[in-house]
Symmetry: C2
Subunit: 410 residues, 2 copies
């Protein structure tokens, strides 16, 4: 039996990160809707004040508050109506002189001279362009000041923000319509194995349906990656070499999943060694699940390779913890919120290996994480689980009452 | 001033739900990758046992555990090697007789007669097809039993599950490749307003950039809806009527956002009344933000209409709480997890109206929700916030120390 030095998950990720530095992260410009869900590649600053002019938040009359004094129900103040602000029209020549007022709709420009807006409910029109106002006003009332929403020069959004609808709203408001985002990685997913059949077929004796193609491709899409192709190839050296070469030509990331038997693991390592001019970086990781994991890098074509364990649950977990996490760290993605939950049972760790434990969450106020146990190769527990928590290499397991941070599944 | 009876948010949603019942939810069949992120329209049951045959979780030898007795380092047991299971080949004619064993790779078929698998590390080949095994075995060791992962007849996934990568894995494992999901709503987003300019233009005096098109469209896409088109129209009756008629022809949902002035609100209501044969259902809701909200339904074309407040933050919040929530309830979507957080300040509610308060979350173990205050019409606070919590119509506000459930923004 060949003995290999395995890496911790962090070591495996660091080795890939070192190779990636400066080459694997490209910035591209996208329009507003195309940038939704993408990750900002730069801090974005406002070049403008929003609103650029004082704006009313009510339908009403722009007034000089001093004019209204103690106006009230009993003793209204009479003002002269000098005009009307129309939405979308230039009203900057209007001016509210003492004793005067101007009609302003919600969102409308508040003319110079005025310092507040009285709601239309407190105003009554009289003949001869006069208005009775039955309420006093304080300076600034119902008026949004210039730059009160967003002032010129402030940071709107930080690098690493995954753009949500309201973030696009802020960018639209400030006229930022060419948005620098990290170009999503292009991914090829290769599944190998003579025993695999397509999910729409009934497996014969000794056969099994291909699962990893679907979990890995959809997880990639959920993270915003661009899945270029999914390929199934038999365990034939030439066929796999061809698939790897095709993938190198247009993919940033090639994800292989093959069998978990020793012979297959050795072949995957050998083929990645052949395809990647920088060679194999990691051969085996100290993680449970996930030991048989192989990574490599091709400098010339700028392609990352990862050979995942064959078991679907392990493959998904390793993909999450090495590749997805690498992408998140490289793009400075804002930290995902975990759920702090209590464990009520003993859970052993695998000594010397990082252990990922599937859990189901129960309860709202003080959530409890119930472990979901999965034997090697089983898929249903992953689907039953809400997420997982991690015990580090040196941690000795969990005792009842311990708190853990649960990463929710995407 | 026209007085209108306003609905609570729940009433507004119920009225729409009544109209929708039986018409607005269609099921469609999708393939595995196309179903990612969609919502299951039916409970899915397994028609098979997974694994369909006993499977080894190790590279090793299938044995009869009784044969090994007290085998150990010092006194290995000798077994006769009767053959080898090959992945992907039919090995069902192999049989492990007393005193015999068969090589099985990880994931391979465990032949009849054998009841456990000994890891290859404990086995040493001798001449003449004999194997020395230096470890005893317990029945079932390293063997996954038939149906142990998934047994025939069990529910795999419930109606209302938003399909995650691992859920697709379970479906692939069981050969479910035509998946009944709810057809995503087709949405037309219409923005109206003479004062609006496209975000790539610099607004002149009295003008403002269009924000709602981008927040509402991207929020729709994030929920899985299919945005058919986004349209901007001036405040011209005929142009809006045309846009509504075009939208009715191919959309399930027409979202209008116009100005917030009283004149515009009246026009929106009148135009929805004209386009929707079932008329206007709700005209104003008891919610802060969100009062000027109008809904309607057209029976003939099966189209929902909603006129949102003009202010971007209010528009997004109302869209979330009425339309997105309606979709989630109708599709039985599994409840989204909220974050339980403490409030450390006084927060007033709006008496008689449901109040949504934006918050930023701080801290991991015992999260604190800091209110983010937004004046009417401001967009930046929504982007600063991590989410929001809701105070009901009858709630009197929040006191320091109170706990709230924070809905995280999508």
């Amino acid at each position: 039996m060949k003995l290999l030095k395995v890496d911790t998950v962090n070591e495996a990720r660091s080795k890939l990160a070192d190779c990636c530095a400066g080459t694997m992260l490209q910035t591209e410009m996208r329009g507003l809707l195309d940038a939704a869900g993408c990750i900002l590649a730069e801090d974005i600053y406002s070049k403008e004040n929003i609103p650029p002019y004082r704006r009313s938040i009510m339908d009403g009359y722009a007034v000089r508050s001093r004019d209204l004094g103690a106006a009230g129900d009993m003793i209204p103040t009479m003002l002269k109506v000098k005009g009307e602000v129309l939405l979308g029209s230039d009203s900057s020549d209007l001016n509210v002189e003492p004793g005067c007022c101007v009609y302003v709709p919600t969102g409308g420009y508040v003319p110079d001279g005025a310092d507040s807006v009285v709601m239309i409910e407190y105003c009554e029109a009289f003949g001869a362009g006069m208005l009775a106002v039955s309420k006093s006003a304080s300076p600034g009332e119902n008026v949004v000041q210039v730059g009160e929403d967003i002032s010129e020069g402030v940071m709107l959004l930080p690098k690493g923000r995954k753009l949500r609808p309201q973030d696009l709203g802020v960018l639209a408001a400030c006229g930022v319509t060419e948005i620098p985002v990290f170009a999503p990685w292009k991914v090829t997913v290769i599944s190998t194995g003579d025993e695999l059949v397509s999910p729409d077929r009934t497996p014969g004796p000794g056969q099994i349906r291909d699962i990893n193609t679907y979990t890995i491709a959809s997880r990639s899409i959920a993270e915003g990656f661009d899945v270029v192709r999914t390929v199934y190839v038999k365990d034939e050296r030439d066929a796999i070499v061809n698939a790897l070469e095709t993938a190198k030509a247009d993919s940033d990331l090639v994800v292989m999943s093959g069998g978990s038997s020793q012979g297959k693991k050795d072949m995957t390592a050998e083929l990645i060694e052949g395809a990647a001019d920088h060679g194999v970086l990691t051969h085996g990781i100290a993680a449970k699940p996930g030991k048989p994991t192989i990574t490599g890098f091709d400098r010339k074509s700028r392609t990352l390779f990862i050979g995942l364990p064959g078991h679907p649950a392990a493959a998904l977990m390793v993909y999450e913890q090495i590749l997805i996490e690498l992408w998140r760290k490289m793009t400075c993605l804002e930290k995902e919120r975990t759920v702090r939950a209590q464990i009520n049972v003993n859970i052993p760790s695998a000594p010397g290996r990082m252990t990922s434990q599937l859990v189901r969450l129960r309860g709202e106020d003080s959530p409890v994480a119930e472990p979901v146990f999965a034997r090697s190769g089983m898929i249903s527990p992953v689907s039953e689980a809400d997420g997982y928590f991690v015990m580090t290499e040196n941690q000795e397991g969990i005792r009842p009452g311990d708190m853990v941070d649960v990463h929710l599944w995407k």
